[in-house]
Subunit: 327 residues, 2 copies
Amino acid sequence: MREIVLAARPQGEPKETDFELRDADEREPGDGEVLVRNVFVSVDPYMRGRMTGIRTYVDGYDVGAPIGGGAVGRVVASRHDGLSEGDWVSSMLGWREGGIVDGGTLRKLDPKLAPPSTALGALGMPGFTAWVGLQEIGQVKEGETIYVSGAAGAVGSAAVQIAKRKGLRVIGSAGSPEKVEWLRSLGAEAFDYRETPAREALADGIDVYFDNVGGEQLEAALNALREFGRVIACGSISRYNDEKPQPGPRNLAFVVTKRLRMQGFIVTDHVARFGDFVREVGPWVGDGTFDARETVLEGLENVPAAFAGLFHGDNTGKMLVRVGPDD
Amino acid sequence: MREIVLAARPQGEPKETDFELRDADEREPGDGEVLVRNVFVSVDPYMRGRMTGIRTYVDGYDVGAPIGGGAVGRVVASRHDGLSEGDWVSSMLGWREGGIVDGGTLRKLDPKLAPPSTALGALGMPGFTAWVGLQEIGQVKEGETIYVSGAAGAVGSAAVQIAKRKGLRVIGSAGSPEKVEWLRSLGAEAFDYRETPAREALADGIDVYFDNVGGEQLEAALNALREFGRVIACGSISRYNDEKPQPGPRNLAFVVTKRLRMQGFIVTDHVARFGDFVREVGPWVGDGTFDARETVLEGLENVPAAFAGLFHGDNTGKMLVRVGPDD
């Protein structure tokens, strides 16, 4: 089985040469361990930060070492109670075709409840991020207006759909006419940020801003926020490839005059709520009323391209790479 | 009695010619009204925003109209129950030698409990702002480290002293050796921001930042804040005279990675807590263990200079202008 290692720390946009495909060491699973064959590998914007090697809330990746991250696959051989050959599991195996892990770190998936790949998207970290951001951080209320940037991404599209279900008016931005169309089908008012300045699209005012993008969108949102508005600071994908830190918004003074609350969060701090999240959102995904759209590339060798594509908006919904057959 | 009107909207720093001294209309108090002679007039940084004429949380001042604001004085004649000649009162009469007001808008002061002028500082809006910011917004806890910028100002020096009483480690910055000395006498670790970069002074890390200043201090504080840190966004005096909005800090990404909460507030939203504040801080001011220092200029004609001086750090503690004798 092959794996991808970090060959060099990306400068600016991640390039193919920053990564290297190699054969992984193989061995038999020990006591309590499980051999997993990956079917889907996840690429997520937060991984860009780990490639800088600076420890933030999570360790940086080491040059020459494999790139850990979310993956979904099937058990090939198990020496862990409660997991058997053929089981679907989600793991942190990352960018590889499979490997051996401590069975205790795996989450068993029931493919009858929802497609297993959704454990990396709508029912995984991105969906949970949207749910935590809206409820715990933004404390959104029925009847409020929320603006979601990066709304056609994995987190954004979950935020749009959860906010709609909670009775909010939802405005979403994305970077293509097709994405805008999709967001409208989800019940959002949507605009293409390449065509329409956010300032214009948000002219009626908003109560909450779910920030996946940073930069100009944040500045426009600060202008549009009403008194006592909240910024759910989730990420700033427009900035992750910056080689130099860029200045912040010119209108932070609104934080005081409009009594805004801007709060950052990392979803892993909230794992205690994961069960509540799955109980609420799982049935929607299961019955198909929640659109868990995915953009799926094929083959481990295409993982770096899929990852780089996140920063160009190549994905609609969750970006995944299929690295093996379902069965 | 004379009053000061806004002659022109200041461009950049407020100048003498932006204001005009004139004789006020005089009349007798009507039913329920009180004629008050001002003794102290308050100048406060937030008034700069009102001079732009843009409504934020409070109306802008009109050109040609008097400048409302805090004042403390004595009743000359009363047609309001519960107020008699000679009573000390605090009012929103603003930059004038006195005037007629609805008695219901006045707060009667007891000069035996604390010097009446403190109703404009330590026991008034600035002290209450510090108290609300620390408790309601920052939710500070014993043992935490707080950084207060503008620490020798009216709000800052109250924040320093209240935070010390609540068992925090307090770091304060100010703009002269004398102010630094004073802050040290209040129990703060203090530095002169003109001499020492905040980044250096805060190298050990902080849990909370009480921001009175904005700009570079905010950027340094974001660097220094620990995980789950809070920014009490109170004001940004370094920016109030900017003619063009300036870019924000280059390190706002820390809001996410360190899960920071930055929250603005306006003290008038919290009036319901004013009684609690006075009950807690009043005795400290009364017994002299809380240093309610004031910088006092003399004469109504010097109010514009006192106001302009706020932006040059001319004050230590609360800046006031005495416009009449005590009795």
